[in-house]
Homo-oligomer: 485 residues x 4
């Protein structure tokens, strides 16, 4: 397994194809726009070698029978899911943010492991074998693998082939003997700059007329004809400044637009191609573990927010006990998304391919909590921390160190600690609640409205009605005409 | 294992010592005040013999190596806790209410199993051996065992020995060679009329001055000098009426006051006596599985409420799809308490005695949800069901069947079903949301404020602060003087 | 103006036509099923004569230029609406419940005052003149007037004339020279037993095919061919018992089914007949002040709940300061519905008829709060008050006074006050939160979903979009095809 | 009254004393850090001359009997408060943000109008006369007046004179014949760059030992020895970029640190000096109208958020009807803070000085809503708007216009409108929910915890207890010993 140094070296060797603010990023490990996310991902390699974290971050491969990164493993049991949820919480604790260049890739491997197994068995394809071959090598190479599902989509009321532009979802434009050529884009993809390869999955379920959109494959991040543009984050230009206004150096989230201008994918890296009838299944296989484990991620974020809030209370001269009710509520929020992740993970089912698939209902319930509870946690943090932290309402680091008036600013920022420390804490809370550190947990892994649809579809209303009728001893059959549209 | 018929027979053989409305209840299985709760508990015996429920309701004893009721088993693994949570959900589904004559007893066995083990090992007592002996026999006899913790307590700002009356918590008044004599009361005890025996535990943690209050034992429900008074429930007199105004015949909750007028307990049934330093531990051992599993119970209640609401929507001529958002929210509430129960159960630890003790943090977080979410579920049910069901605002069953105007009432009650059926549904929703069917989940298993104290005590603020400091690269140590009172 | 004695006398003189539990109630002022609501309504007359309440409960008639009950007045100004909101809060404070035999009648007068004015002006009818004549006399006679809107409705997916039975909404079956004959029912009508007359309004807006349902009139409560059946309330049979288990003697809510078996209404009491195009307007005119003023009612309920909770805390030996956060939240809930009622009342408009019509948007927003916030207030009350009060989980008054064991029960019920007092407080909280005292504020005045429809219809989305476009300097026009069904 | 051009000219004539990022801002009307807030404030002057807004933004002075800006008026009636609440909503609608250089100043005038009146009457001072003289002139000069209360405060557990540094709250260091000299700072002061003068008030109530901190006065923004440092805002450096990543040009919020290095205040501009016993009253007089009117402000923000959300839905090809439930909830939130502001404004009392002081209870309840409801509104906006808007997760304007790949980005950003328009909408929602446009409404006007203290202090628990006792016919007196600390 790689060291963090080797990991960074692997990134440095890749072809530069990432842009931000009109500039081609030559070295992602040192450029201000990308170096922090790489530091965050590098922590995974360092932590994997520490005794206390090793069991969480690594496991033994059932393919190569050696220790591998858990992020490259097949989830085979409730215990694997518990470790997954814990791993996400731990990494948020260590980086203060998302290490998004790994989670979605990890999920994509598992989702396609099950889906390709079904396809091969039912259709006689050889996708599962290909995936197995690729995965073995990937485990040995210890790559960092991002995952990509989201298409631009265009007008949400129309399917891909009815859009004004056929490229608004990623699709095949040519099939060759040795592979396929794809055009389009994947957007808002997390952790791309920190990754070696990208696992592409269909963005949603497709019908036959859109079968060219039902594709899955894996490519190097620096593949030919692939151009990557990093998106903005709130306050992202602070990353180019000196000082602590971008308060966290050892982690950052980035999200990219991947522009595919006729990218060639060799056959051995293609895991779905036009099997539209499996596209929804692939997405559902992705969603179940993702929406479970994200609860750990959000809990890890909450741990840091609780810590930062308590620290600010102390900086203000107040014990965190003053805010006991609020901290208890924040903790309840953290433990709820964590616990629901555990429960969804544990109450799963074993897929014939060997993948353990978490509970659909509980995963999707957790997605709703994940899109709701952190907002309350952040609000409470802002409430505890006071006006200075609510919107980071304090002078810039540059002003705090200004030769003319910086001394005065420090004097007036001091409370139960130095002015500079208090400013750092305020910046951390700004970053966590209204700054660059806020991850997109509302829509990450799909929207809560989507989750509610799944919840609704999985609610057995008729069973519940029968329970009620039996209790009240009601025999009459009551039907409602369902009007067809 | 007993049949439901044998179970009822066992109750009939006991000495009558239960009163309600000034009347001594001769036969609890037929008296209107108690027969419904006994029907509910009897369903446990019937269901245990059905293929689909057997694995949930029974297990193999590790003491007698035979199938026993799960309610008399030692919880030894995550799987046992999962089955416990599922069992509670199932029984609520089948009875529409609490089968409280079993859960607390089940928990008490397990809590004292661990506590007596520790006492024997550390103090050289023989409580664990006694408990083991009693439990073996109890499993063979297949008894129904209620549990009792709550003391009257008197003035909440004072400890037992500082009350105006020493009896305000249950305590030993005499120690004999062959046993102890206890005086006082246990109050609001669930399912007593449906039980054969009662497992008594200390109501809270005690200090040395209150060591006479640190007692645990088991007695027959009809012990000498024990008088039992049933409490009221909303609309409880309807149980004495004809018709469907008490809409559920196959289940009911009851709660009692147990009045101990110098009751003698033989030594072999005493499991704690004056070991005050173990009293808090006993309570905590009780709380962990109780506050986890109650999530299943509340989810089971929610299932029925969802069913009743959807049924009323249909009765009104509306598809439940009209109320999709509300039903999804109700489902989220149900699955949250269920899922948190599962997670708390799974992330536990093995006690040296063999008992599996659920996760304290998650159990207590779930207690808060259990005291909150069902209120929203009930509100939504009332919202879906309309004014007729909100407070059961419709004429009595007697009026609906009145010879003069009953026909008119039925005419005007009809909608997408007969007037009588619609009236029954309205009564069911009244019963579930504002009637006799509402269980006391706010304070059952202790108050949410108590749970919040435990959550707060288990939050590692210092760890969280260190996470935040590391991220923002803060070195300064910030202390707050904690003023001693 | 009447004294409370004269008021009761006026009720005693009426023809008995009210039934409950199959019994014809001979004297509503003494029968257990109705006497408490009449005591509540009688308090209005007593309070009106007290200096501190006079300005709230009475006003000067603009028709007869004498002091009259505010409940019989025309609301003509913001000040009148403020007094209305305050009056509702006061009456809940004094009776612990709804005095529903007056509010809806009061609203009906005002709604039809505006509606008849418009009809007369636009259609040349003489309804407004008739209403004026009747109202003058009603003010002089100082009658108690209930209001009735809600029809049985039957299948909610169908209009009245498409129901299986044409009587499922109240309608005209015959027009004579001297009046009309109506058949059908009004259901869940509040305070009927306490009233002298009933003001009937259309239950919703009707189209032409349902014009026979567009009717409004006023009748004596004891009109010929009108049969009234009282509905049940939770725990209502306690009203027939001795003792404090029905804890409030000086107030109660009742709701009735009014069965019209071809009731004749003389012309001078008919205020709408087949003018279907005014039926929705009449309802909207009713809704605006009702949904505003109900906020005062709910706040008054909350005041009592706060008091009862604090009293129970004290009875338990705890200062209410222990529950400061909860009491503050309860207060916020109370003041929110009160304040929104005031705001809706004040930001109204003057109708040409002289009626002041509150703000539609704010009234309907308040209806949503009224259907939501009291549930939280009640939950918090149950949380503060402990298990004994949560579901009234204590022995009956009869048991507490039992010669054999009553003394023991009192002993164990005592805390920081006598056992009997503590029992009374627990019963009061049960009554207020899960008993007979809970008013139907979810659906009273219409459902919150109905209110949300009105809110949505009154939201000027296009205006808001224009605000956003102007700010972000967006010129492009963005339209969405709205698909017709 | 000034035109917007004259207003800007007045700012240009002032001495530069404002810094940001180490740079002295020469011309606040053109510098990127301040020009947007000045555009926002300039809109007040433009709108005041429009027929549709004139009545809201101007009034007739009771001092000079001429039309003046409402922001310089004395609030004398409920109607004035209603206009105040509406004015705040309007200005947020027009600027998309806070015009904070006026509200606090407006409130300070009114708070000190009442406070100086009381001081003059009770102490024989001449503060009220001074204030009157200054105000007359201010009205004629039509100045823009910011207000400043918040001191740095240092350790929150200590009063000013017990801090390690006496300057941590602003205080007098010298009293001369012709005036006073003050040292210290006011921090997080809104709209300073847009103002001509600053109204300084005590930051809290003081005891005698801190009487030097009890000061109030007014100074020009460019007073000698006053140095101003602008604080950061999320994403504030975008204001220096080209393009639409700072999406709003016609409004912005700024907040400053005011550093007083021995600033001299002539006597005629001093309105409180060492009258510590009036300092709390001054603050309370400030709070009442501020916490009422801020509800209008927050509603105005919500209007824009609703508009931006609906616009994004349309841009995505979806009707806003798809999100009906969410938009209704957002509207309820908006109208609740607006309505509560109206109610607090209307139910006030007339101070002998002529000032109308809003209702303390309702104002403070509204402060809690203002610190809570907008968070839900923003969450719902992010939910409707999708991942692209949640955190502004799209490429920078510069990248969108890049010559190499900008065309591709626009292609993939298009949906039911051009890619550029969709990007602008996403930026607007980022700005409104997690960007520079988010005002500090949690702590602006004081913290919600402070408001809860006031609510609690104004809750008449004893009265509520008496209501409960009367209803349940309880005579026993129940007291709880309140332990003195």
């Amino acid at each position: 397994m790689k060291t963090s140094k080797e990991y960074k070296e692997s990134l440095r060797l890749m072809r530069p194809n990432i842009y931000k603010f009109g500039e081609l990023i030559k070295d992602v490990t040192t450029h201000p726009a990308t170096k922090r996310t790489i530091e965050g991902h590098a922590q995974i390699f360092d932590a994997a070698q520490k005794v206390e974290y090793k069991d969480i971050l690594t496991t033994i491969s059932h393919l190569i029978y050696e220790p591998i990164s858990r992020y490259l493993s097949i989830i085979q049991s409730p215990e694997d899911m518990i470790a997954n949820v814990r791993m996400k919480r731990l990494m948020f604790n260590l980086t203060g943010t998302c290490t998004g260049g790994r989670c979605a890739g990890f999920n994509a491997i598992n989702a396609m492991w099950a889906t390709t197994y079904d396809m091969d068995r039912e259709l006689g394809t050889c996708y599962h074998t290909r995936l197995q071959t690729w995965l073995k090598a990937a485990q040995k190479r210890d790559i960092t693998l991002a995952g990509a599902l989201t298409d631009p989509k265009g007008d949400r009321s129309k399917t891909p082939s009815h859009q004004c532009d056929p490229d608004l979802s990623l699709h095949t434009v040519e099939q060759r003997n040795d592979g396929i050529v794809v055009r389009g884009a994947k957007v808002m993809i997390c952790g791309v700059a920190a990754s070696n390869e990208l696992f592409i999955m269909p963005g949603t379920g497709y019908k036959e007329e859109d079968k060219d959109y039902a594709i899955s494959f894996v490519i190097p991040r620096d593949a030919e004809n692939l151009t990557i543009v990093e998106t903005r984050r709130p306050s992202d230009t602070r990353e180019q400044e000196e000082g602590f206004d971008a308060p966290v150096d050892i982690g950052a989230i980035t999200q990219s637009y991947l522009l595919f201008e006729d990218v060639f994918i060799p056959n051995e890296r293609v895991f779905m191609h036009r099997e539209y009838q499996y596209s929804l299944k692939a997405v559902m296989n992705f969603i179940a573990p993702y929406r479970a484990a994200i609860g750990g991620c959000v809990a890890g974020q909450g741990d840091v927010i609780v810590g930062a809030s308590a620290l600010m209370a102390r900086a203000n001269g107040l014990s965190e006990k003053v805010f006991k009710e609020k901290i208890t509520q924040m903790t309840i929020n953290n433990e709820t998304t964590f616990g629901m992740g555990i429960a969804a993970g544990v109450l799963g089912t074993k897929h014939p391919s060997g993948v353990w698939i978490p509970n659909t209902m509980l995963s999707n319930v957790n997605k709703v909590h994940v899109a709701t509870l952190p907002y309350e946690t952040k609000r409470l943090a802002q409430e505890i921390a006071g006006g200075i932290a609510e919107t980071g309402c304090l002078p810039s680091c540059q002003d705090i160190n200004d030769q003319r008036y910086g001394k005065l600013l420090k004097k007036y920022l001091q409370a139960n600690c130095s002015g500079e420390t208090r400013a750092k804490i305020a910046r951390l809370i700004e970053w966590l609640t209204i700054g660059s550190g806020v991850p997109g947990c509302m829509h990450g892994g799909g929207s809560p409205d989507g989750a509610k649809l799944v919840i609704n579809a999985n609610t057995d209303i008729v069973h519940n009605i029968e329970l009620a009728k039996r209790l009240a001893n009601i025999k009459e059959d009551i039907q409602v005409e369902t009007k067809k549209k």
